[in-house]
Symmetry: C2
Subunit: 158 residues, 2 copies
Amino acid sequence: MNNEELFAATAVNAWKVAIDQVDRLLSALTDEQLQMHVSPGRNRVYYIVGHLAALHDKMLPLLSFGARLHPELDEQFLKPDRSVPDTLSATDLRRAFGEINATLTQKIQSLPASEWLNRHMSVSEADFASNPLRNRLGVLLSRTCHVTFHAGQIRLAK
Amino acid sequence: MNNEELFAATAVNAWKVAIDQVDRLLSALTDEQLQMHVSPGRNRVYYIVGHLAALHDKMLPLLSFGARLHPELDEQFLKPDRSVPDTLSATDLRRAFGEINATLTQKIQSLPASEWLNRHMSVSEADFASNPLRNRLGVLLSRTCHVTFHAGQIRLAK
């Protein structure tokens, strides 16, 4: 591997470690335990999984990897109104999260190294020209941290 | 910036965002609130800060940045025995954490891009030859995720 490829592979590995971590935490919980709150008065694990699934699904177009798989998740999991009733069973939620992460990770692993430095789709060409750190790699690292932030919370349930 | 520099700068930025995040969360808590548990029966915020401070302090020699500033933290914060009584006031703990992060971040920002791909000091030359992802960048990303994991927990206190 050349240096660009080593940089990219190290970052992709961090993403995979983060996804593995949250997968392990969720595997240790039953469907009933997904309804637990991570701390009194805080989010349910179920809600956090849906929130992560919706946000990861949005990474597909953001990184120019293709169309979203589950745009219907936004209504329940990305709106400020948390009183929306649950529409997905725990089984369906787990399946959607797994499917989104598998598709995304396959695309992430296949991206040629130098393309990580291209702009992502929510920054304009002009803004990207003035701040080249608003690249796809920045999205990958930010989402890697985001899933890990919530993994720390899920760790507290049970 | 060339491509290597862009890769490195994007990763360094993720570290700085993570440190800023935990700093903001801690600034919002009083010294008394540092004694809160992040969830019933789980760690106190105080303990998590000490744990992060000790682990970040160990990054200095791990990344060949120099000697540790606060090796005395390990006794209280990195041992499995959590019954060790608190030896540091909240003020001293905050000061140590700030000092360690400032020193570390200054070294992180100054490292030439290609040196992120060198091995870190807890992997042998032979093991590094067989797995070049065990580089300094891998340590940086792993610790960036680690501090974010605990930030997610600190977020739940109060």
